[in-house]
């Protein structure tokens, strides 16, 4: 085996040193369209090649590219033609077809060839014979992608480039403007507000809103989720700025407040948002004694009848149920907006709702059928080992592997979630192009990220067949800072087409999907479970002003971040690092 001829130099550009960062060259090479991809500065030979030929430099390639369904692009020659090196006659792993003449050369004889720019026949990659390196060009990649997508669609770019239907409302973004009261507002503030009860100097130095919640009898599942929601920034801001006013809400529902307090409680219209508002007011009041969310429990049990019992519940089930309760109390017209995934229906969805994209691809012809669905969180299977997004590169880095081999990670679970899965042969999908049922691949990706991402780890396995349940205790690593861009639809599509430089669906300026600037998240709450399936305990870790606190029912204590990193995460809450302010009302 002769491998010594295989040398591949990795140079970002002729000027910059590879190690010295990506970040610097990112700033200088940034193109408008796709922020995810750095378009490297072309070498002088490539520039010269393109200068001579203009925009149609790679035009004739479109006919010459052969695409296997769901596979790579390669160069097609005449029928039954086998490419060989013109100089030595061999068929080595790398063969380059010159773009200026008909010559085909191997990597050994490429430097001797008179022209510089060639194309790798097996991989459809540009090669500069002078630099002896693979080079990249946007126009070339576009030509290749067009060939690939033409093969995969009914004669056009279907779901690969087209955005989702018009029903997904577009919202304008506005810049953040800090608010200061004018003189009239200042007067109102002065006459209508009172100072919060002053406690000890020491107590007020702790973050506002930090308060224990009494366990009312196996209600730690509820307390743990409530603590996370109380400190979910957009949700907290909504309720603390009185966006859901209990008085107004009850009046709208035909309840008249009278002087008899006792009677009121039974006449009050059931509204979980009102109870949530009351909870926020109590917890952010400045008083540090633990709060008993009794009224909240009472209201929630009225909403979720089937879950109303004195036994340990699942925290995630409670989370979904509570958000559903807030959504349900919104009037019917607004509730309809939910199906479009814009989150315009209620605060619960505005904060937590994202859009998932599902692609089903025919393995015979590559035709892809796409659907979009809103989602309020992402439930992940606990994957045994670290299957990182750059696993091919990890194998070069011995250190990372030895420390962490065999550890489950959140990124690994997300990789599994967005991996193409082969659907069973009993689930053959009817391909519109082939006009028959074919075996297919399904792949999930995230079209739009929510403001707050909640990841639920499926640690409780229920087997109805064996009539038993079990808990998976395996540790799963989760980061404090999370970049979701590899899981966006644009990134998943891009990697499906060989990571070409191209404006895939979701890239660039469409405000209704997520791009690079909205994909950075920070962890702010972790709900953990300790113990056995039916005899366990939930508690929540909160991150406030970069200090971690443990909320264990009534007990609030400070903890070191190591405790949190080493904890068994059940639900992780991440908030977008940079929150955009959207124009409210119709666009």
């Amino acid at each position: 085996m002769k491998l010594q001829n295989l040398t591949l130099t990795t140079t970002m550009s002729s000027n910059s040193d590879h190690q010295s960062h990506l970040h610097r060259s990112y700033a200088s090479n940034q193109q408008q369209q796709s922020k995810a991809v750095i378009v490297p500065t072309p070498c002088s030979h490539l520039t010269e090649f393109k200068a001579g030929r203009g925009a149609t430099a790679f035009g004739k390639l479109l006919e010459g590219i052969r695409v296997r369904p769901l596979g790579r692009a390669s160069v097609r020659g005449e029928a039954f033609q086998v490419f060989r090196c013109g100089a030595c006659g061999k068929v080595p792993p790398r063969l380059y077809a010159c773009l200026s003449c008909d010559a085909v050369v191997c990597d050994v004889h490429a430097p001797d060839h008179e022209h510089e720019i060639a194309i790798d026949v097996d991989r459809a990659e540009l090669f500069c014979c002078s630099c002896g390196d693979q080079v990249y060009d946007r126009d070339f990649d576009s030509a290749v992608v067009m060939s690939q997508t033409a093969a995969a669609t009914l004669g056009g770019c279907n779901s690969l480039c087209a955005p989702p239907p018009e029903s997904l409302r577009k919202r304008r973004r506005v810049d953040y403007r800090p608010w200061t009261p004018d003189s009239r507002e200042r007067a109102l503030l002065g006459s209508h507000s009172s100072l919060l009860p002053g406690n000890n100097e020491d107590l007020s130095s702790f973050p506002v809103g930090l308060k224990g919640l009494n366990n009312l009898g196996n209600t730690c599942f509820m307390n743990s989720v409530l603590q996370a929601l109380l400190h979910t920034p957009p949700l907290r801001n909504y309720f603390l700025s009185d966006r859901h006013n209990g008085f107004v809400c009850q009046q709208k529902n035909g309840v008249n407040y009278n002087k008899n307090e006792r009677k009121n409680k039974n006449l009050q219209k059931l509204c979980l948002a009102c109870d949530t508002d009351a909870l926020f007011s109590a917890v952010f009041s400045g008083d540090r004694k633990p709060y008993s969310p009794a009224k909240f429990l009472y209201s929630w049990w009225q909403h979720a009848g089937n879950l109303a019992s004195y036994e340990q519940q699942d925290a995630h089930e409670f989370f979904i149920s509570m958000l559903d309760g807030i959504h349900e109390k919104v009037d019917k017209d607004e509730r309809k907006l939910h199906s479009q995934g814009s989150g315009a229906c209620c605060i619960a969805h505005r904060v937590f709702s994202g859009i998932l994209r599902s692609d089903v691809m025919c393995t015979a012809c590559g035709f892809t059928s796409t659907t979009y669905d809103p989602c309020i969180d992402i439930s992940l299977d606990l994957v045994p080992t670290h299957e990182g997004p750059t696993k091919t590169l990890h194998s070069c880095n011995g250190n990372a592997e030895s420390i962490n081999s065999g550890v489950s990670t959140l990124l690994g679970c997300l990789d599994r979630f967005t991996r193409p899965e082969r659907l069973g042969s009993d689930q053959k999908f009817f391909c519109q192009q082939c006009q028959v049922r074919q075996e297919s691949l399904k792949q999930m990706s995230i079209r739009k990220l929510p403001l707050v991402s909640c990841f639920h780890i499926k640690r409780f396995e229920h087997s109805p067949i064996r009539n038993m349940s079990r808990k998976v205790d395996r540790y799963m690593q989760f980061p404090f800072s999370l970049d979701m861009s590899p899981y966006l639809s644009s990134s998943i599509l891009r990697s499906r087409f060989g990571n070409r430089i191209f404006g895939f669906d979701g890239d660039g300026n469409d405000p209704d999907c997520s791009n690079e600037s909205t994909s950075e998240f920070e962890l702010f709450a972790v709900v953990t479970h300790r113990g056995k399936l039916d005899a366990g305990h939930y508690s929540t870790y909160l991150r406030l002003s970069n200090q971690w606190y443990k909320c264990d029912d009534a007990w609030v204590t400070e903890v070191n971040e190591n405790i949190v990193r080493a904890a068994q995460g059940y639900m992780m809450f991440y908030v977008q690092k940079m929150l955009y302010y959207k124009a409210s009302g119709s666009s």
């Binding site: 750095i38 990249y136 009494n214 540090r288 019992s309 009534a554």
Partner: protein, 151 residues
């Protein structure tokens, strides 16, 4: 997927080659195996080169740092001399202590009775006629439960 097929072929080739055979058969098989292996290596190299050049792996350093911090954290927490991990609560950050069963007392919003916080849920379950035990009772005294709810 092509890589998978090639890997299967490679395994097959090794199996064939390890069986005793004529010299030139082995040489030819070895040559083809070499070609396939080179091709696979080239595929991976080309993909990695593109990923690295286009900056698609620029999160790699941050991801590895997070993994390292987690491994470090787990080691520190597992250390028996580390008292923080499993200490019992003495006082919370506000200097308060709390009993095992929450002792605050308030009125049930369903029946009006005074209830201890830590026993509120089991009370409410019966009071509202929810839960397994309550449902069994309800069949016997459904009028009483209905009257309580409508009060």
């Amino acid at each position: 997927m092509r890589a998978l097929i090639i890997l299967v072929l490679i395994t097959e080739f090794w199996r064939i080659m390890s069986a005793p055979d004529e010299d030139n058969h082995a040489q030819v098989a070895s040559h083809f195996f070499g070609e396939l292996l080179d091709s696979v290596i080239m595929d991976v190299a080309s993909e990695c080169h593109r990923i690295a050049t286009l900056g698609l792996d620029r999160n790699l350093d941050d991801e590895e740092e997070e993994l390292r911090l987690s491994a470090q954290a787990r080691a520190r927490v597992a250390d028996p001399s580390n008292s923080e991990a499993n200490s019992k609560y003495v006082v919370d950050i506000f200097g308060q202590t709390h009993p095992a069963v929450a002792s605050e007392i308030f009125d049930c919003m369903n029946c009006g009775r005074s209830i201890v916080a830590g026993r509120f849920a089991p009370h409410l379950e019966k009071c509202m006629g929810k839960g397994r035990k309550a449902r069994v009772k309800a069949t016997r005294s459904s009028t009483a439960a209905a009257a309580a709810q409508n009060r």
